[in-house]
């Protein structure tokens, strides 16, 4: 049957076709829909889970692969940093059933902290990597990745990028899928227990094997050469290949595409470059292929001029695009083929639209309560990764630091140790708390930090599309399970003061924070209120325009997207309002009232 799916869906369906028996991951844009797609299609016999973090996911999958089951792990590129500890070791140990780690890169970056390149991670870990250029190709290639993994008993990386993950295309899939059973874990401590001696032996084997994989890749059908013999060639990879193809570059020069960056298909590249005098590398993120070509040219004394990111021809940062690829191609070949555009240089100034917290988001109320409580006090606000990073936007301006998952909790401690007079806050979401917040809290208790931990518990993983987590009581096997109680966890790891509060009750929340700020040690407040996207209340607020004095305090203070000024009076957009009532608690003349019933 034909299915119109996102690239992430194509990866999911390809893995099911390959007989995957276990899929684990942690949500992260642009990778989240892979696991969600597996869940939507028949997947009898597949264990499916959102793990607490990427490290856990990779370890769960590794054991399944030791047992001969085909296993897949999904994450975004920064998730691979979290999973890098087991990954580096697993690369030495190897697997039995095929194991593919999907790490989705995010050039731009569009929704990430870094512009790191998973192909480099493959090189670092000395394991193969596949780099699809389209959803259709991702569907096929993920199956090749499983085969490669099993053939060489090694974990394999699979690296789509945002535009492949989020592009929709049609793929032909079977009516049903069969998970391939493993033959069970066979105890063998010489194989599965990593020791220095084993690492030494396997290190040698891996490097020998990689030469062989490079030869396999030289014959791989998705490493391609197009266009007739020429002295100029463009070498590209991933979605950049799609952009170059869109421009018809193969009509202007030779077009070489490397879909397996590591182990580098050296024989293929040498043959493809035969007769070529000039090369332009068009690739996103790091100049990985460009560096491989420079090595190749050095080793074989090839008389080729190689340009790309390293000589400044192609920008290091940001996404590739059809336009940029087209301009680069034209400049390189002397062609002029870009479509004519409407000139928009004279366009009027456009309003900027930075992303903001949704109307009615309980995080806005939590941030505002802390901000009010700390007015006039020296206080620092350490943020974290999730929707609530948007608490940085004006007028809230409540995120002083944001580094990586869970870092806010530990950074608040560092700020306290060097500045004990400041009140140090950490804001963490419920999913992030489980992912990598808990150990940080233990660190605070043990090392005697004074801090206030605000857990913004909206009962979901909101930013990435509302995935369940250990606190929600649901899992990806479709089961209702015991909720892991955040308050009890905090009490269990030694936090003596744990309070649960409703952030939408502004006065009570402000008083609570003021009280906690006077106490020593680690204090935790769980601001509990569900994400508005998963629980729409049935009432809304409205402004009584006869009472509104037009002071704009509601707009200036909280920046709710449902509030605007029309004709000198505040107006609430009923389509956006969720009736949270925060603005009503702020209005100095009581003009916003009542929850309007409709």
């Amino acid at each position: 049957m034909k299915e119109y799916v996102m690239g992430n869906g194509a990866i999911a369906l390809g893995s099911l076709k390959a007989g995957v028996g276990l899929v684990a991951g942690y949500p992260g844009t642009p990778s989240s829909e892979i696991i969600e797609t597996v869940a939507k299609y028949p997947h009898a016999g597949v264990h499916l889970e959102w793990s607490v973090n990427e490290k856990a996911a990779l370890e769960v999958a590794a054991a399944a692969a030791y047992s001969g089951v085909r296993a897949m792990v999904t994450m975004k590129q920064v998730g691979l940093n979290v999973a890098s500890d087991p990954l580096m070791s697993l690369a030495y140990v190897g697997v039995k059933g095929g194991m593919v780690i999907v790490s989705a890169d995010d050039p731009g970056p569009i929704s990430s902290q870094t512009e790191q390149d998973t192909r480099r991670f493959a090189d670092f870990a000395r394991i193969p990597v596949f780099d699809p250029a389209s959803p259709e190709e991702a569907y096929e290639m993920i199956q090749d990745a499983f085969a490669c993994s099993e053939k060489y008993a090694t974990p394999v990386l699979f690296r789509p990028t945002t535009r492949v993950c989020h592009a929709y295309a049609s793929v032909e899939v079977p009516e049903s899928f069969t998970a391939r059973a493993g033959d069970g874990f066979v105890r063998d401590s010489k194989r599965w227990v990593i020791f220095p001696r084993l690492s030494y032996i396997n290190h040698g084997r891996i490097e020998e094997r990689n030469v062989q994989i490079g030869k396999d890749f030289s014959a791989y059908a998705r490493n391609t050469v197009e266009g007739t013999a020429a002295e100029k060639a463009i070498v590209t990879s991933g979605v950049s290949y799609a952009y170059v193809k869109e421009h018809g570059a193969e009509e202007q020069c030779r077009l070489i595409r490397i879909a397996t960056a590591f182990p580098f298909p050296e024989d293929f590249a040498r043959k493809a470059l035969d007769g070529v005098k000039e090369v332009l590398c068009i690739e996103e993120l790091s100049p990985y292929i460009e560096e491989q070509l420079l090595k190749l040219a050095g080793r074989y004394h090839l008389d080729i001029r190689i340009s790309g990111k390293l000589d400044g021809t192609v920008p290091h940062n940001g996404e590739m695009s059809a336009e940029l690829a087209g301009r680069l191609t034209d400049a390189f070949t002397g062609g002029i083929a870009l479509p004519e555009c409407i000139d928009t240089a004279d366009a009027p100034a456009l309003p900027a639209r930075p992303p903001v917290l949704c109307a009615g988001c309980p995080h806005r109320a939590s941030f505002y309560a802390v901000k009010q409580a700390m007015k006039g006090r020296r206080a620092f606000f350490c943020g974290d990764i999730g929707c609530y990073t948007l608490g940085n936007a004006m007028p809230l301006d409540m995120v002083d630091t944001c580094l990586c998952m869970g870092a806010g909790i530990t950074m608040a401690q560092g700020l306290y140790h060097v500045d004990p007079d400041a009140v140090c806050f950490a804001f963490v979401g419920d999913s992030t708390f489980f992912a990598s917040g808990m150990t940080g809290v233990v660190n605070a208790v043990y090392n005697e930090a004074d801090m206030i931990l605000c857990v913004l518990d909206n009962s979901t993983t909101a930013m990435t599309g509302h995935q369940p987590h250990p606190g929600t009581g649901r899992n990806m096997m479709g089961n209702i399970v015991d909720k892991v109680d955040i308050a009890k966890v905090l009490e269990g790891i030694g936090v003596k003061r744990v309070v649960t509060a409703d952030p939408l009750d502004l006065q009570a929340s402000v008083s609570l924070i003021r009280e906690l700020a006077e106490e020593k040690g680690v204090k935790a407040v769980i601001f509990k209120s569900p994400c508005i996207a998963i629980s729409r209340p049935d009432s809304k607020c409205a402004v009584d325009s006869s009472k509104c004095i037009g002071c704009q305090k509601c707009i200036r203070e909280i920046g709710c997207p449902a509030l605007t000024m029309i004709g000198g009076k505040a107006v609430i957009d009923a389509d956006l309002c969720t009736g949270c009532g925060l603005c009503a608690q702020i209005c100095p003349v009581g003009a916003i009232g009542g929850k309007k019933d409709e």
Binding site: H166, I342, T564
Partner: protein, 195 residues
């Protein structure tokens, strides 16, 4: 058929459903279709786009600048922001009702309208006005799809689109959405006669 359609607006306006219905309908009529959506942080009140590419030979997941024959703009400033995607001679269906950036004052939409009129063939529509009979601007995504179809710039038949609305909208909202589509179609037919 080879056709690129760019749909743009502000996160939360329902651009994705319009894109899904157009893509599905184009496929139903036997075309190869590719599309791409804005997903992630930018969805939260930011500028969003959906790229629908109909026909063989579309390699780039995003429409190259100067290639879209049709721009469906849910907001006037977003129409201007994405105008460079439109090909010379292309058509823009534009909502004249402004969405103020969150937490800041609204802006005047009139200069946007005047600018767009100078640059391309435009069909303007006020979402507040056309959605009034339906009680919510949430119907605008279906109405603007109807307008494009009625004006004959979508290249997909009314019947195919209607069928996709039946299939893709939640059952209890189907009838109301079909009415919204029909209302849009009438507006589109009228606009097409005027031009």
């Amino acid at each position: 058929m080879n056709k690129d359609i760019l749909i743009c607006g502000v996160g939360g306006q329902g651009t994705v459903l319009a894109s899904k219905i157009i893509a599905a309908a184009a496929m139903e009529e036997g075309n190869a279709v590719h599309s791409a959506e804005t997903i992630g942080m930018a969805q939260r009140g930011g500028s969003v786009t959906s790229h629908v590419r109909i026909g063989e030979g579309a390699y780039s997941p995003l429409i190259p600048h100067g290639s879209a024959e049709l721009l469906l703009a849910f907001e006037p400033a977003e129409a201007v922001r994405n105008l460079s995607y439109l090909c010379p001679g292309g058509t823009a269906v534009v909502n004249t009702s402004v969405v103020a950036p969150a937490g800041s004052a609204s802006y005047d939409g009139e200069p946007m309208r005047a600018y767009l009129e100078k640059k391309c063939r435009c069909i303007f529509v006020d979402s507040e006005e056309v959605c009034r009979p339906f009680g919510s601007v949430r119907f605008f995504n279906i109405i603007i799809t109807g307008i494009a179809a009625g004006a004959g710039v979508l290249g997909i038949s009314r019947e195919t689109l209607t069928e996709q609305i039946r299939r893709r909208v939640k059952p209890k909202f189907v009838e109301e959405n079909l009415k919204a589509f029909a209302a849009g179609y009438e507006i589109g037919s009228g606009a097409s006669r005027q031009v």
